[in-house]
Structure formats: structure tokens, C-alpha cells
């Protein structure tokens, strides 16, 4: 009986030939099948992210302030990730910042035909924020992007603004001197936003 077989022994069916009706002798066999798995949600962002999204409609980037350390987190989640405390204060941060880290993508993503490789995904830290978030960097050759490079947000035209982080099309170099690595603020260090 099969259930008593040594599990390390390959089952016969993996090496045996499956026979089909003779009329299918000359057709190409199906060897793979697409089985996408999708879940459709209606997402509600919550109070803090809603305020952030409404700020985006006015070309303002809002962050949460940690009530314990004073650090600013963008995008805001309503809770400080360092102290675990609920946040009650929001502040506007700049739409200028620097590249903390980056990646050059050279392969296309099927679901994003608007992104033409090679393109640069970067971790951009806005001035006034203690953390970065993922963003596109454009207006520069990928080979010239570097850690510490100063960038500014490029916004959609005013009449296309909505409650969406996509209002920032990408970030592009400002031409200012690079941020020196020693100046980089470290996440989780109390008081470093002063």
C-alpha cells in the first residue's frame, strides 16, 4: 500500500508515463496554468493616515510626533513605532529631503507598465522627518544617484491633486550639496529631532 512506502522513494507516477486518448497524441500538452489569487478590499486608512492623505491634497506632507521621544514619522500611523504610544500631534514636514538608500530596477514589473526600466526606487527622508519612505527618484541618470543626495518632491498639477500619496510623482535632485553621512539621524535615538 502506498501509505506504507518510504517517503524518500519517488512515487511511480512521477516517472511513469500518463497515457491519453489516441486523438491527443499529436497535440501540445498543457504543462502550466495561470491561477492568480486576488482579494479585493475596501480600505479605510484610519484617522492619522486620513489626515495625511487630506494634507497631500493640499501639497502638504504630515507626520506623527512621538509623545515620548519627539521623533516625527511619515507616513503617520497613529502610533509611535518606538514608544508604542498613541500619537496626538501632527506636524508638517518639508517636501525637500535626502536619499537615505536606493535601488536601481532594471526589469519591468507587469503591474506597473508606467515604470520604464531602469528606474530608481529610493528611501527618501523629508526634512523634519526622522524616517524615510519609499519613493521614485527621477530627473537623473540611475548611475548618478547616491546616498545623501538632496531631492525635492515633484507634485502633480494642482487640478489633479487628490487624497493620495501618488500626488508626488517622484523626487528629483535639487543640486544642493549632499548630506554627509555623519549628519544622518538614527532611528530610535531619543531627542535627535531637536
Amino acid at each position: 500500500m502506498g501509505y506504507n512506502q518510504d517517503p524518500s522513494v519517488q512515487p511511480d507516477a512521477l516517472s511513469g508515463k500518463v497515457t491519453l486518448p489516441a486523438s491527443l497524441d499529436d497535440v501540445e500538452m498543457v504543462q502550466a496554468v495561470r491561477t492568480p489569487a486576488a482579494i479585493d478590499y475596501i480600505a479605510t486608512p484610519g484617522a492619522s493616515l486620513s489626515a495625511y492623505l487630506r494634507g497631500m491634497k493640499q501639497k502638504k506632507i504630515l507626520g506623527d510626533v512621538c509623545p515620548v521621544t519627539g521623533q516625527v514619522f511619515v507616513p503617520p500611523r497613529g502610533v509611535s513605532p518606538v514608544s508604542g504610544q498613541r500619537t496626538t500631534e501632527m506636524v508638517e514636514v518639508s517636501d525637500q529631503g535626502y536619499v537615505e538608500s536606493f535601488n536601481v530596477t532594471r526589469l519591468p514589473i507587469k503591474s506597473r507598465p508606467d515604470l520604464k526600466p531602469p528606474y530608481v526606487s529610493a528611501w527618501v527622508v523629508p526634512d523634519g522627518s526622522n524616517v524615510g519612505s519609499i519613493a521614485l527618484v527621477a530627473g537623473i541618470e540611475p548611475e548618478e544617484v547616491r546616498i545623501g543626495m538632496r531631492v525635492g518632491a515633484v507634485w502633480k498639477p494642482d487640478d489633479e491633486l487628490e487624497e493620495s500619496a501618488a500626488n508626488i510623482l517622484h523626487w528629483e535632485p535639487t543640486g544642493e550639496p549632499d548630506v554627509v553621512l555623519d549628519d544622518l539621524r538614527i532611528i530610535g535615538k531619543p531627542g535627535d529631532n531637536q
Binding site: 500500500m1 502506498g2 501509505y3 512515487p11 511511480d12 507516477a13 511513469g16 508515463k17 500518463v18 497515457t19 491519453l20 486518448p21 486523438s23 491527443l24 497535440v27 501540445e28 500538452m29 498543457v30 504543462q31 502550466a32 496554468v33 495561470r34 491561477t35 492568480p36 489569487a37 486576488a38 482579494i39 479585493d40 478590499y41 475596501i42 480600505a43 479605510t44 486608512p45 486620513s50 492623505l53 487630506r54 507587469k110 503591474s111 487628490e162 487624497e163 493620495s164
Partner: protein, 150 residues
């Protein structure tokens, strides 16, 4: 992002994984049959036929390696009514889910039967397979079933 009267922001969000699975010979053979307009089942050692086919005999655990053609009409063995179809189900209007034993097969397959209402459904009724116009070697090549014409 849309805001309703309650002031809460909402937006549709789709989480999707674009899987492609390799089929193996048995399922691949079954899907090849569908693409060519045939329904195949797996023949067991005792001569009975499982449709849709399994790769192993559920009683003896023996590998099943012979696929044979079964009929494209069959008998409803049990059913339930689906009054609110969802996306990706066989029909967009209300229909019956049914276990259908195709002629020449000894086990039933689950599929949709399109009828006007539950009053038109009964255990033992005869149904016929409807093919999709474009077939590609996918289970959805079977559009569904309808009552067999007398």
C-alpha cells in the same frame, strides 16, 4: 480615495498574487483535453473512472496513469442554489452549484448549472456541458452546464 457623507476615506484595494502552477501529467492531460474539446477522467484498476481525474487512487494509493474520454452530458447527484454570484464564479446571474456525474464517469465534478430558478433544479436531472468560445487549457474552458435538451 473617496469620502462619503460620514467623512471616512475609502478606496478599493486589490491584493493579487499572479501564480503560475505546473500541472504534472494528469492535470495537464485533463486540461489538454479541455483545450481540445474533450473531457478526460482517470481510469482506476477496477475499471471505474474518476472525473475530474486524481493523480493517485484514493483507496489503493496507486498512481493513476490512464486518461480516458468521458461524455459531455451527465446527471446531477446533488445541488444547491447560489442566489448572489460573485466575480469569477461560472455565471454572473443566479445559478445552481451541482455535483455532476458525467456519462462514463463514476465520480461527480462540481460545476454551475444555469437555470431560471431553483424550481428548475432536481437531483437526477440531466445536464449538458457548455464550452467557452475561446479555450486555452484551463478549467474555465468549461463555461458551465445547462439542462439537457429532451
Amino acid at each position: 480615495m473617496v469620502s462619503n457623507d460620514d467623512g471616512v476615506l475609502r478606496a478599493p484595494l486589490r491584493l493579487e498574487y499572479p501564480f503560475t502552477r505546473t500541472t504534472g501529467q494528469v492535470v495537464g492531460g485533463f486540461l489538454t483535453g479541455l483545450r481540445e474539446g474533450m473531457v478526460l477522467g482517470a481510469k482506476r484498476a477496477d475499471g471505474t473512472v474518476m472525473c475530474p481525474p486524481l493523480e493517485y487512487d484514493p483507496i489503493t494509493s496507486d498512481p493513476l496513469t490512464e486518461l480516458v474520454e468521458v461524455g459531455q452530458s451527465g446527471t446531477v447527484t446533488t445541488w444547491t442554489w447560489n442566489g448572489e454570484p460573485r466575480a469569477q464564479q461560472p455565471f454572473s446571474q443566479p445559478f445552481a452549484w451541482a455535483m455532476i456525474t458525467l456519462d462514463g464517469a463514476d465520480t461527480p465534478m462540481l460545476h454551475g448549472v444555469l437555470v431560471d430558478g431553483p424550481d428548475a433544479m432536481s437531483t437526477g436531472m440531466r445536464v449538458s456541458l457548455q464550452w467557452r468560445n475561446e479555450r486555452e487549457g484551463h478549467i474555465a474552458d468549461i463555461a458551465g452546464f445547462v439542462p439537457e435538451e429532451a
